[in-house]
Structures are given as structure tokens and as C-alpha cells.
């Protein structure tokens, strides 16, 4: 196998030329072979005609002669390909079992030379008693009755039955089609690494870890795969560096914020201290969500069964305690195997959004058997249809009423959607007919 591989040309062009060459050669050899068979067949039918004519001539000549000279004349008319002699009784016994080949030969002889009376003709094989199949017989034995009841016996070489022109054409076509299909298959095989490369390029940047493309196939494809892997590495490193820088900045900001928090305590003006605290809350929330967003890129929380209702109720109660109009409606428990912290953050972001932009949140949970549906509705202005997708982009905030003076990091929905999708679920935003915004979360229950 290895040696075979070494014989294989290394370049894409070389391999295609090889396929072309092998295909052409196969076709050429096949055609030659078919031609050979055709020629042999034509030769065979010519020989048969010759045999029939000579038999007719010999029969006539021998029948004219007196009995004493008949055998000598028969011998004199013999050649290497047709041996004849005369006897009173036939040397060939009538065949018991009829043979398709013998019958076909008999009728063909009759067709070729109608004068040859085939009704009394006895035909048989020269190697009777040999157990081999009929196809391997080469010597034909025959006995031709003369008008006076004596027999002209002969033996001749057998020929392959002729194939029709029609069959030759058909087999050439079949062969060409076969070679074409085989060629296509091989070319497809050659192209496989190239397709793997394009698939990998399509996958790149999507969810899931970066997978290097296998560097195999012809040289050009191998080089392209290597270049692609190097590019993928570079982009990956670039993103990782940026992520790390962003995470480091966010992380380091906590120390000055912690200092500021304490410092605000020494501000004499109570109102100013309160305002500073509110600003710090906002900064902290932004840092928290940025870090949560970045963490989600690299880490995944272990799964365990958790009660979604307890989770949502905790969030609703906290929001209600802070003075927001947040209600929960639904069953008193709903169990799901999930990553609780990740999922809680998603619901927290959705409820916060509803409160911030919509002034209220009505949370409804429904257990649908196969999955759990959670709807979060608010009384806000909703989102223009055109922006329904772009609100999920990181750091994206709409330049409409939804963000005026409300701050936020622009990551809430991004984090929420990613968390839900990590659980195989969907998060869809819509503007219900009654106004407001509806966030629908569907979480499938894992099947065991």
C-alpha cells in the first residue's frame, strides 16, 4: 500500500493526468480486445461457409465415383483443416442429447450453403467422453449421408460462434460508461481533501472549538491546508490576546472601583455620594457582564439537575423587592438538567432588560413535556422588526428609545442567547400585537 502510494503522483495535476491516462489505456485495451473478438468471429463464419461449400463439393465428387475409388478421392480432397474419408456405415453416432451449439452450427451450415442437405447430417465432438464443458471442444466430427446410403465422414476445427455487430457496439459503450463512472469516482476521491478544507473554512468562526484541517491529499491541497491552519492559529491567537486584554482591563478595574466605593463614603455631600454609588453600580455591572461574556467563550459550567422555577422566582422576588413590577406565573417546580449559574444569568438579563426598557416583567413558565417554555413580556416600546437580529450582537445597543440614558454594556442579550443555545434551546424576540416586547425561551429536556 505504501509503495503504491509512493508511485502516486504528488500534485493535483499529476493525479488527474494519471486518472486520464489509466482511463484512456483501459478504454484502448478494451477496444482492442473487442475488435479481436469481432475479427475472430468474422473469420469463424467465413471458415464455416468454406467448410459447408467444401463438404458439398466433396459430397458431389465422391457420389459420382465408383465405390472402390471413393475413399481414396475423399482422402485426396482432405486438407489440414478438413479431413475426410468414405465408409459404408457412419463413424459418428446420432447424438442422444441435443446440444445448442451443435444445433446452432447445423442450422448455420444449412443457411450458408442451402445445397448442403442438413437433415441427415450427423455432428459430434472429436473428444467425446472428455468431461470438459462444451465450450472447450475444438474438434468437430461429422457424417454426411450420400444418396446411395453410404457416408462421407469428416473432422474439422471448431470456431467461436460469431458475435453480432450490435453486441460489439453495446459492449464498447458499456465499457466507456464504466470507465467514465470509475474516473469520476476517483476524481471525487482526489477532491475530497479540498472539500474538507472548504468545509473547515465554513465552520471557522462558528460555535465550537477551532479544529485544524487534516493536512493530506495532493501537494497543492496539503499546502493550502497548512496555510489555512496557520491562518486559523493566527486568528485564534489574535482573538485570545484581545480577549485576555479585555478581561485583564475589566479585572483590574475592580481595584479602583473598590477604592472609589470606599472613598464615596467620605464625601460630605450625601446626594453626590449616592450618585457616585449609582455610577459605580453601573460600572460594576458592565464589568461583570463583560467578564461573563468572555468567560462563556472559554469555560463551560458542569450540568446538574436544577429547579428552574426556584431560579426564576429568586430573580423575580429580587426585582420586586427593588421596586419593579415583576410577576411570575406557572407551575411551582420545573426540573431541568442544566448549567444553573449560566442559565440564571440569562434569565436575569432578560428580566433586567424587561424592567429597564419595558417598565415591568411578566414571566410565564410552561412545561410542555418535551421542552420548557419561558416567556418574558414587558410594557415597553418593543424593538423595530429590522433590529430583531442585531440586538443579539455583542456590544450592540439600539440608537432608539431603548437605550436613552439607560446605560448597560450591550451584552445582556448576547449572553442570554448564548447561554440558551448552549442548552440546545432557542431565544426569540418578538413584538406581540398588544405592544411591549416578548422574549420566548425554549429549553429542550435532555432525553435519556
Amino acid at each position: 500500500m505504501k509503495q503504491l502510494r509512493r508511485l502516486l503522483p504528488d500534485t493535483l495535476g499529476g493525479r488527474i493526468v494519471l486518472v486520464l491516462l489509466v482511463g484512456l489505456m483501459a478504454f484502448h485495451l478494451g477496444s482492442l480486445w473487442l475488435h479481436q473478438i469481432g475479427t475472430e468471429a468474422v473469420l469463424g463464419s467465413t471458415r464455416e461457409a468454406q467448410l459447408a461449400e467444401r463438404l458439398v463439393a466433396a459430397k458431389r465428387a465422391v457420389a459420382e465415383l465408383p465405390t472402390a475409388e471413393r475413399d481414396r478421392t475423399a482422402h485426396a480432397l482432405s486438407t489440414a483443416s478438413l479431413d475426410m474419408h468414405w465408409t459404408q456405415a457412419p463413424t459418428v453416432q446420432p447424438r442422444q442429447a441435443s446440444s445448442a451449439r451443435i444445433d446452432a452450427l447445423r442450422s448455420r451450415l444449412g443457411e450458408l450453403v442451402p445445397e448442403l442437405d442438413v437433415t441427415g447430417l450427423r455432428l459430434g465432438y472429436g473428444e467425446d467422453g472428455v468431461a470438459d464443458g462444451e465450450a472447450s471442444r475444438h474438434l468437430l466430427l461429422g457424417a454426411l449421408p450420400l444418396p446411395d446410403g453410404s457416408w462421407l465422414n469428416f473432422s474439422a476445427a471448431l470456431f467461436r460462434p460469431p458475435a453480432s455487430e450490435h453486441a460489439t457496439l453495446l459492449s464498447t459503450t458499456a465499457m466507456a460508461v464504466g470507465i467514465l463512472l470509475l474516473g469520476l469516482l476517483v476524481v471525487r476521491l482526489i477532491g475530497r481533501p479540498l472539500r474538507a478544507l472548504s468545509d473547515a473554512a465554513d465552520r471557522f468562526g462558528g460555535p465550537g472549538p477551532v479544529v485544524p484541517v487534516p493536512e493530506e491529499g495532493p501537494r497543492e491541497v496539503r499546502h493550502a491546508a497548512q496555510a489555512f491552519n496557520r491562518m486559523q492559529d493566527r486568528i485564534d491567537r489574535l482573538i485570545a490576546d484581545r480577549t485576555q486584554a479585555l478581561a485583564a482591563v475589566s479585572h483590574d478595574l475592580r481595584t479602583p472601583i473598590a477604592r472609589l466605593r470606599l472613598r464615596a463614603g467620605f464625601v460630605e455631600d450625601g446626594e453626590a455620594a449616592h450618585a457616585i454609588d449609582a455610577d459605580l453600580d453601573e460600572m460594576e455591572a458592565m464589568i461583570d457582564s463583560t467578564l461573563a461574556y468572555l468567560r462563556g467563550e472559554t469555560e463551560s459550567e458542569p450540568r446538574k439537575p436544577a429547579d428552574l422555577v426556584a431560579m426564576i422566582e429568586t430573580l423575580c422576588h429580587a426585582a420586586a423587592d427593588a421596586g419593579a413590577a415583576v410577576t411570575y406565573a406557572g407551575p411551582s417546580q420545573a426540573r431541568l438538567v442544566c448549567s444553573p449559574v449560566t442559565l440564571k444569568r440569562a434569565f436575569s438579563n432578560l428580566i433586567d432588560n424587561a424592567v429597564k426598557y419595558g417598565g415591568a416583567a411578566r414571566v410565564v413558565l410552561e412545561d410542555k413535556g418535551r421542552d420548557i417554555l419561558i416567556r418574558i413580556e414587558d410594557d415597553g416600546p418593543g424593538i423595530p422588526e429590522a433590529d430583531m437580529q442585531s440586538v443579539f450582537e455583542p456590544f450592540r445597543r439600539l440608537e432608539t428609545s431603548r437605550n436613552r440614558g439607560t446605560g448597560g454594556s450591550g451584552l445582556g442579550l448576547t449572553i442570554a442567547r448564548r447561554a440558551v443555545e448552549q442548552h440546545g434551546g432557542t431565544l426569540v424576540l418578538s413584538n406581540p400585537p398588544g405592544g411591549g416586547l416578548l422574549a420566548s425561551v425554549g429549553l429542550p429536556k435532555p432525553r435519556n
Binding site: H251, R254, T255, I257, A258, R259, R261, L262, R263, A264, G265, F266, V267, G270, E271, A273, H274, D277, L280, D281, E284, A285, D288, L291, A292, R295, K304, P305, A306, D307, V309, A310, M311, E313, T314, H317, A318, S332, Q333, R335, P340, V341, K344
Partner: protein, 260 residues
């Protein structure tokens, strides 16, 4: 996020009623500014404060004076806060509050496992810091003779439910994690520490206040208990966990076991 924040420097989350004044607090923090600010803030609220830059300075202070509470930062140069916490716990029973980076779950769990009594995520609010310091001081003086929760990473078991005091997590009998708010957790812990005893609303308020900045009224105790009950007894068939004793208060019905 701090649970409540007042506008002025001196925060009156709760009256420093029974607290003996001049409790000595050791602040171990490598950031000089931060150390000064914490010290200034705590002094303003009636504590005696000593600062230490690292483990070496901490041991020096501990050798020379009696300390009522240690506020220990996790991120320290040289020996980390976690190592110091373990070494400190091995030598003395002084109450320890770990200061962890927010969102670093592992630091928190590890800190509590290594013997810290409480933790506070950084950046913290002034009110939260003060409330935690006061609550821990109260508890360490054993006013109610209550056991210290969180020591050596306990698991509290009642009626097949399990409360993990390291992770602050509640698990249902079938292993499902049931989310609790901070207030609900503190309330449940108070119930567990006084199982099968009737607790009045006043007592519950007091107990919960010892845990954290729980700034509620008797009415809010009722609300909190009903929320907790909804999580512990989700269906009508669920066994009764918290019983209302008419005119007296509430009681945790099942017996409590402590496990590892």
C-alpha cells in the same frame, strides 16, 4: 452588588447595640490605598484597625496584639490569602473574612473550606463590609450560643434535603439544585441551627441579621418564610418542612443532621 447602600459615610445599618466598642480588626491587603481606605472607614464606624501588607506583617501583628477579626485578601504577594487562611486557622480560632474577586467561585469555596468564616466579593459596598464584619463579630462572641456555620465545610441534612454551607447551595431529595436568595439562605440556616424549635419573628430577624445585612421588618420575615416554603414545599403532596405556629412564629419540622 451590595444589598443596601446609605448615602453618608457613617452607615447605620444596625445599631451597634450589644457590640463592645473598640473591636480590633486586622486588615491584610497589599494595595496601600485600599488598606488605608478600609482602615479609615472601619475606624469611622468605631473599630480599632491595624493594617498589614502581607503574611509576614500579619504574623507580626498577631504576635503582638489580640485581634478580634481578620479581613484577609485572597490576592496577596508571596504567600496567598488562601495559604494564610489555612495557617491561621490551624493556629487560632480568630474569625476570618476572605476578600475574593467577584465571580471567582473557586476562591470562595476554597476559602470557606480552608476555615474562613465568611467571604466578601471585591469590589464591595461599604454597607456590605460593615454588616458582614458586625455579623461575624456578633456570632464569634456566641451571643445566642449558636454554632458557627461554614466551619470545615459542613453539609446540613434535613428530611432528605441537603444544604451545602460552603457553596451556599440547597439540594432537593432527588438531588435537584434549588436556587435560594441570600436572605432565604440565611433564614434557612437560622432554622437549621434551631431545628424543631419555635422561632418568633423577632428571633428570626435577629438570627438572620447576624448573618448579613438583612434589614427587614417582621412583615418581611413573613414574606421571606413564604418564599422559602414555596421552594421547600413546591406541591401539595410535599411533606411539611416549615410549620406556622399560630401566634408564636415558625418551626422547622424535620430533625437536622450534620454531615461532611
Amino acid at each position: 452588588m451590595a444589598r443596601c447602600r446609605a448615602a453618608t459615610g457613617i452607615i447605620d445599618v444596625m445599631a451597634p447595640d450589644s457590640l463592645p466598642q473598640e473591636a480590633h480588626i486586622l486588615v491584610v491587603e497589599d494595595d496601600g490605598e485600599m488598606r488605608t481606605l478600609i482602615a479609615k472607614f472601619l475606624r469611622q464606624n468605631g473599630f480599632r484597625v491595624t493594617g498589614a501588607r502581607d503574611g509576614r506583617e500579619m504574623w507580626e501583628v498577631l504576635a503582638g496584639a489580640s485581634v478580634d477579626l481578620v479581613l484577609l485578601d485572597v490576592m496577596l504577594p508571596g504567600a496567598s490569602g488562601l495559604d494564610l487562611c489555612r495557617a491561621l486557622r490551624a493556629k487560632s480560632g480568630v474569625p476570618i473574612i476572605m476578600v475574593t474577586a467577584r465571580g471567582e467561585e473557586t476562591d470562595r469555596v476554597l476559602g470557606l473550606e480552608l476555615g474562613a468564616d465568611d467571604y466578601i466579593p471585591k469590589p464591595f459596598g461599604r454597607a456590605e463590609l460593615l454588616a458582614r464584619v458586625r455579623a461575624l463579630l456578633r456570632r464569634s462572641r456566641g451571643e445566642a450560643g449558636e454554632p458557627m456555620a461554614g466551619q470545615a465545610g459542613e453539609r446540613i441534612l434535613f428530611a432528605d434535603w441537603s444544604l451545602d454551607t460552603r457553596r451556599r447551595e440547597l439540594s432537593a431529595p432527588d438531588g435537584t439544585a434549588v436556587d435560594l436568595s441570600g436572605g432565604e439562605y440565611d433564614l434557612l440556616l437560622a432554622f437549621c441551627e434551631h431545628a424543631q424549635r419555635v422561632l418568633s419573628r423577632d428571633q428570626l430577624l435577629d438570627l438572620a441579621r447576624n448573618r448579613m445585612a438583612f434589614n427587614g421588618t417582621e412583615r418581611s420575615v413573613d414574606v421571606m418564610v413564604s418564599r422559602l416554603r414555596r421552594k421547600l414545599e413546591p406541591t401539595d403532596e410535599s411533606p411539611s418542612i416549615i410549620k406556622t405556629v399560630r401566634g408564636a412564629g415558625y418551626m422547622l419540622v424535620p430533625p437536622v443532621k450534620r454531615g461532611a
